[in-house]
Amino acid sequence: MSTHAPETRVASTGQQSFLARQQRWVPLLAALAFLLIASSYLYRGGFYGQLVTQMLIFAIAAMGVGFLGGYGGMVSLGQASFLGLGAYGVAVPMADGTGPWTAVAISLVVTLAVALVTGLLAVRVRGISFVIMTLALGQILFGLASSWVDLSGGDNGLIIPVAPVLGPLDLNDPTVLSFAVLVVFVLAALALRTFVASPFGLALRGIKSNEQRLKTLGYATRLHLYISWVISVMFAGVAGILFVFTNGLITPTALDFGHNGIVTLMAVIGGLGTLWGPTVGAIVIMLFQNYLSLYFERWATVMGIAFVAVVIFAPEGLWGLVTKFARRLTRQKPQPGQLGINEVPVGGSAAETDTTMPDPTTEKVQQ
């Protein structure tokens, strides 16, 4: 939510249109409208309340992919499996009779431990090899969830009997739980926004465009990528905790290749390296999955084709298109020296364009 961007950040392109002068209000209004609409659905509950809750949960996981892929240049294909890890982290101790809060703590610790260990592998490879490695890691977690029956309950999965109680707030009430999800979502988005704008975030973008140069400048590039990996995995873990409490159930299917792909699709369709893209992607894809599927059995085919079309025709993603359009409305010129899709070196991420690598002066529009 780019509501607090200081005045100095506003792009100064001389003559500005009315829209351009008013533009700092646009993101604030959009964010408020989003919160209001989401809240009204959550308050009413039912099918759509549940759907919006799940959208927010997957948006958190997809944000992790979008952040690591868009700012760090490492596209993960294992995020749903880490989401599942967070969910099993809660479900396995609770199956043994542990209380919900202790289970949440255990889940966070386990996910952090796995993130710290897998991060050692993740930073050793780049580009395509990274994608393949995350896919393999995700499939291994899926395999463990389905074949380690003593621990995971096998294909039947594990059921969560109760949700935690937070003071006067009883999260066993679906409405309260939904709003708790919204709060976590907002906190995650704010944290990510702060993080991306920090010197660390800027260094990360530098690593994405030219790791060698940043290394020469004395940056600990591997440490930057390592920390980013851990953050991205933790986003999935937190989403997994929310997922298991809202669904009351976790099965290995949630960790499979199809779901891993879908979380990545969310981030890419929305726009890698944009703060709101993954959320937009999560909304669009969950509508495909839950709404289109009511009317059209072959929704997955439509989703696949739509995804291929986005990759070919709008590699900056849907949110990228929105910001491009907004920029055109406010008559800002594209910043010089930005990478077009055809100038991306082999081994780098091709799903990036001018709108995904913002100059600090246009950051407001970006978000």
């Binding site: 490879v125 393949i132 291994i140 290749f257 199809g258 997955a300």
Partner: protein
Amino acid sequence: MNQFIVQTLNGLTLAGIMFLVSSGFTLVFGVMRITNLAHGAIYLLGGYIAYSTIQLVGNFFVGVIVAGVAMALLGIVLERTLIKRMRGQVMAELLATLGLVYVMNDLALAIWGGDPLSLRLPGVLRESSTLPGGIVYPNGRLFILVLAVAIGLALYFLLRRTRVGAIVRAGVDNKAMVSAMGINVRLVFTMVFALGALLAGVGGALGGTVLSLAPNADAEILTFALVVVIVGGLGSFEGAVLGSLIVGLLSNYGQAYFPALAYFALFAPLVLVLLVRPQGLLGRTAA
């Protein structure tokens, strides 16, 4: 001891199927830098087409050939219509093939349904032989093993001893120079992509005799192929052979002796290789 030998043979059979799938994957990657995530879906589709052909014609071998040819044609169509739009944009290509996975799997589900299918081997291949040492082993698995080795040798001959192979290997090293020599690189790309798809299709037809064909079988075989190429080295044909042997044997021993933790048998070689030699055992550079 006999049990161990049987498990080793099972592991080698699995390695043979993995080799067919991963050699196509690694060949396409080596020449074109395309990470084809739809490779597993092509394997599954090949298996399904072989199943339907065998139902229709009643001949196993016709089924295998039809599966291979159909997948090669699919490969040509995909390369000419889709992949060429993204030439050189490695991440876009990878993501587009991810989109294809959903399309292909959904259509396969619509046609063949979600129940696991398996292919029946013909005649004598359904029986078992007694090997030296008194081990009784199914002929079908021995047949798969022999066929995988034969295909592997044929590929090796094609890549190392023929003009076409020389062009392909040169393409791996320096595409611009190959193009400058007056060779139609476009055609080479299409043919390599078709060959990769053909190998996956044949792999699916053979794999369908020992592994079941069902939704998600594609993801499983893709994982095997990915671990094989990471361990062996992305783009290296010899790496695919070595990786298949390591992953096939370890994976089968894991499933036989520690079924709950079988997936750690995949994880261990992956971790070791990434820590010690990130480019893979026989890979030249980290891709």
